[in-house]
């Protein structure tokens, strides 16, 4: 069974930027509504295969895309 994580961002615009970039990097990702357990915020989060987490952090840091936090998703 695939294990997922999510990245939460501060702005929708960063989510969009991250999605575009990570797609070209060949990471398996999907935009999902922000899971309620991580934020009271409405909006969009980026879900990814947990195996990809190091690469995702690297890519986001390299592109200077600010993100709030990376969480492990135990159910979804």
């Amino acid at each position: 069974m695939t294990q997922y994580g999510v990245v939460l961002f501060y702005t929708t615009s960063s989510v969009m930027q991250a999605e575009k970039l990570l797609k070209t990097e060949g990471c398996s990702i999907k935009l999902v509504p922000t899971p309620r357990q991580f934020s009271s915020d409405c909006g969009i989060a980026l879900r990814f295969d947990w195996d990809c987490r190091e690469k995702i952090k690297l890519v986001l840091d390299d592109a200077k895309i600010e993100f709030d936090a990376v969480y492990f998703l135990d159910k979804q």
Partner: protein
Amino acid sequence: MIYLDNAATSWPKPPEVLKAMTDVLEHAGGNPGRSGHRLSIAAARVVYDTREEIAQFFNISDPQRIIFTSNATHAINLVLRGILKPGDHVVISSIEHNAVMRPLRSLERQGIHLTIVPCAAHGTLDISKFERATGSTTKLIVMTHASNVTGTLLPITEIASIAHRAGALLLVDAAQTAGALPIDVPAMGIDLMAFTGHKELQGPPGIGGLVIADDVEVSQIEPLMRGGTGSRSESDEQPDDLPDKFESGTANLAGIAGLGAGLKWVKDRGVDEIRDHLKKLSQALLDGLSTLPQVRIYGTLDTERAVAIVSFTVAGKSVSEIGLRLDEEYGILSRVGLHCAPAAHKTIVSFPEGTVRLAPGVFTTLEDVQEAIQAIAKVIES
């Protein structure tokens, strides 16, 4: 009908623009960035893609520094109201649009100091005068990239050096130039640039933006409006993150989609090619008009140093009569009067009567221009 009022707004719009606008409402109609469902995400992608395309077009590396506004006026107000405080000094040229003049006149009453550097009667700017007007208290220089009355281009790169030597920022009003000629924001030394979507970027009315150069400190700019951004909703304070800090309220999704399609159209056609085409048209207008008796042309006659805007008057004839007859008898649409820029008309000595302004666009042909010249000749004769 021959539409020669592209400096007011470009028309017709490329069919791709209309299609992008209906498509986005039909297929991606969620509220961008407010909800997490597929229509909201699709809408947010359209907004982001346009932001990225604009950043690339003006050579900005961080797309989040493109702030969507309703138009150039909104972007200019955002900067003026967001940066200036009582006691600050601002320097502008004498050919600014009311989008710059009016907010500054109002801020003057709240204690900012304004210096208006006169341009020559043919609309060009003496850089040394500008340098003398700028000093250590100067916070901001605001300058139009091209006059919307005469088309004359102002020396932005030189003015940027003057601003930076004085420790001031340069805000450029690119309403008439964005899409009409290449603009490299960092290479020209521009700090902040207001653009509008509905002119040479070929987009619809109601969308524009502010470009914040990569090295400009954003904390010195206060937002013009505060409100919902879809981000950090747990807080009742405005976030500092870009672009949300300056983009409260639901975005103009159809406008942004149309602007994106307009920009793509400009990129596909090639901004250099567009510039060449428009130069040829304004040259033909200038050549034709200068053969007509009683015609006085304002501004530079050098098409290298202007965008495709030609302003003229005819001795003994009112501009409104010329405009009306061109429209009703020949189907030629121009714009007469003061063009929202009384200061510019005072500079070129056409105040308060104004001028007849002809502004060809990307869809105008040389034949259209010849026909317009013949019509003007007939109006002058009778």
